[in-house]
């Protein structure tokens, strides 16, 4: 019984990290129709930037801001100067983001070498939370809390704020939104910036759990893709539910069948694509 609870919490924590990554990816894809294949690389670069910031003596919370901030600036630059030039050519944009992902990944190896680096946990969250004979790292509970708070904040932003209404209008019908006087160009920059910041900050946040290593990007990116395929395009609820499903499957899979944890990831994809190609909560086919 303890096993199931602990692995369930681990799955929840991993799913939370996945949600921080996938929500930005899904927002960008839903609004801009850009499959940002650099998203995993943003996540890894954010973690490395955070690592260096901590190495320079900054505390963990500032490191999260620095990681998120640095990646959001990078994201804005890429959106403004590269992706915008390719407006209306989704495939060209995908290939460019793939190229950028390679450049970032190899640059990280260049700067931070190929060895995995642990990212130190903030001291105030070290230790374990105990209930009777169960012990669970406080930091993971914290990450779960962050993801739920982020989900609530994003929900509020999208469903209750003026900016969110504009974003939803853009997702549903871009041409009409533009005709109504919404400045979609500014909206694109804002959403891309938000998604990049989430990826970067998520990388730092993931550091103490996953540690930072070359290949973190290509470990996380396909999971984010699977989450979006599973949850549906541009759907926040889809990204949330999809992340948790994949988190649980991955966590239980790794504990029960360590060799097959990746094979099991095929199953939800096969099921969803066969039975409901729009994804669980998507309104349009991907």
């Amino acid at each position: 019984m303890n096993f199931w609870i602990i692995q369930g919490l681990n799955g929840l924590a991993f799913g939370s990290l996945l949600f921080i990554l996938a929500s930005g990816f899904s927002l960008i894809f839903g609004l801009m129709r850009i499959v940002n294949l650099s998203h995993g690389a943003y996540f890894m670069l954010g973690a490395y930037v955070g690592l260096s910031a901590i190495g320079a003596g900054v505390n963990f919370w500032i490191a999260i801001l620095i990681g998120g901030g640095a990646i959001s600036i990078l994201g804005i630059l890429i959106e403004r100067f590269i992706l915008r030039r390719l407006n209306g050519q989704p495939l060209a944009q995908v290939l460019v983001t793939l190229g950028i992902a390679f450049i970032i990944a190899d640059t990280c190896v260049w700067i931070w070498t190929g060895d995995p680096r642990p990212l130190p946990m903030p001291r105030e969250l070290a230790g374990a939370f105990r209930v009777s004979n169960l012990a669970f790292p406080i930091y993971r509970l914290f990450v779960i809390g962050v993801a739920f708070a982020l989900a609530a904040a994003l929900w509020f932003l999208l469903e209750r704020s003026r900016l969110g209404a504009m974003i939803r209008a853009g997702v549903d019908d871009l041409a009409m939104a533009r005709a109504m006087g919404i400045r979609t160009s500014l909206l694109f920059s804002a959403v891309f910036c938000l998604g990049s910041a989430l990826a970067g900050a998520g990388g730092v946040l993931a550091g103490p759990i996953l540690s930072v290593y070359p290949g973190l990007d290509s470990d996380m990116l396909p999971l984010a893709l699977v989450v979006v395929i599973l949850g549906g395009v541009g759907s926040l609820l889809g990204a949330f539910v999809g992340s948790l499903i994949i988190g649980f499957i991955y966590s239980y899979g790794q504990a029960l069948f360590p060799d097959l944890a990746y094979v099991i990831l095929f199953l939800p994809m096969v099921l969803v694509l066969t039975l409901r190609p729009t994804g669980l909560f998507g309104r349009q086919a991907i």
């Binding site: 495939l91 060209a92 793939l98 992902a101 390679f102 450049i103 893709l225 699977v226 066969t274 991907i286």
Partner: protein
């Protein structure tokens, strides 16, 4: 729609040059690189079926190369199968995998297709990496000895080169026949006008799926040759970078032609070998090439450079690049 046309004289010259290559370059090193080019050319030709003729951008084509290589090495070197049986099972099973992956990926089109192929390919990479008891994990799988078909010693670089070249010849012939066949022509129809094709009563899904499986089959053949050539396979073979390199071969040479992917394969393999001799940062260069191609010569490296050279020379000429099919510009839906 453009029928692949070969100038008879220049193609005869090219064939003669390819056949004479082991005598022209005496060093085994260069003959081995030529073998790598030939294997890559088969893989690029098969991916081009999807990209150039089908308009389906797959970022998971390394799956067929890698799975066929893993299977053939596992079956012959570790499970006690004979060379022929191992090869046939490996190709058959990989083609079966293409049937499944094609079914899943063709639930979507365009960007969704790309995302699904990428995710499936990376999951396979994860399987090869993590399922260490079967695949050897990061250390990869080796122990395969090259076969001796009909008494030919494939350990000899020149003999292996001809062996691979024979497969390239067969692949080229089959793929050219496919492209000109009714099925291949209708595939190009679905690329340009999927709705109209559907309205005309064509089963667009089936046409695309059959082409996907056919491409997977030739990817598997390339994987088998890859296994014989390297006698070793590691998760890197299945990685996204391998798929991306193959995609680069197709776009670099110019997609939608038969010659383009082969030229692209030669370019990428030679570039990778040359660059790796000097610097270790191949991946950065790969990324930069991607960005440059997409931004500055979306019709492909070879047509793009040709256009640049033409525009630099004083004679003003009509821009011929316009009729070159471009991968990165989607056809209007």
């Amino acid at each position: 729609m453009r029928a692949p046309s070969f100038n008879l004289l220049s193609s005869l010259t090219a064939i003669a040059a390819l056949l004479a290559l082991p005598w022209l370059v005496t060093s085994d090193y260069y003959v081995n690189i030529a073998s790598q080019v030939v294997i890559a050319a088969i893989l690029a030709l098969s991916l081009n079926l999807l990209i150039g003729f089908g308009g389906m951008i797959s970022l998971g084509h390394a799956a067929y190369l890698g799975v066929a290589a893993y299977l053939s090495i596992y079956l012959t070197a570790h499970a006690g199968f004979g060379h022929l049986a191992g090869a046939l099972i490996a190709i058959g099973a990989t083609t079966g995998l293409a049937m499944l992956f094609g079914y899943l990926a063709l639930r979507a089109s365009g960007l969704g297709f790309l995302m699904i192929t990428l995710a499936l390919g990376q999951i396979l990479w994860g399987v090869a990496y993590r399922w260490a008891s079967l695949t050897g994990g990061d250390n990869g799988l080796g122990g395969l000895k090259r076969p001796h078909p009909f008494g030919f010693n494939l350990m000899d670089p020149a003999v292996f080169y001809y062996f691979a070249l024979a497969f390239l010849g067969i692949a080229l012939w089959c793929i050219a026949r496919f492209v000109q066949s009714a099925l291949g022509q209708s595939l190009q129809g679905t690329r340009d006008q999927p709705r109209r094709m559907r309205a005309l009563g064509y089963n667009v899904w089936l046409i695309q799926w059959l082409s996907f499986v056919f491409a997977g089959f030739w990817g598997a053949v390339a994987g088998l040759l890859y296994a014989y050539y390297h006698q070793f396979v590691s998760p890197q073979t299945l990685h996204l970078t391998t798929s991306a390199e193959t995609l680069l071969m197709v776009i670099a040479g110019g997609s939608g032609t038969l010659l383009g992917p082969m030229v692209g394969a030669a370019l990428v393999v030679i570039l990778k070998n040359v660059v790796s001799a000097y610097i270790t940062r191949w991946l950065i260069l790969l990324g930069v090439i991607f960005v440059v191609i997409v931004l500055f010569m979306p019709e492909g490296l070879v047509p793009g450079i040709t256009r640049w050279v033409r525009s630099l020379s004083s004679r003003p000429r009509a821009d011929k690049a316009a009729d070159t099919p471009s991968v990165v510009k989607e056809p209007a839906q």
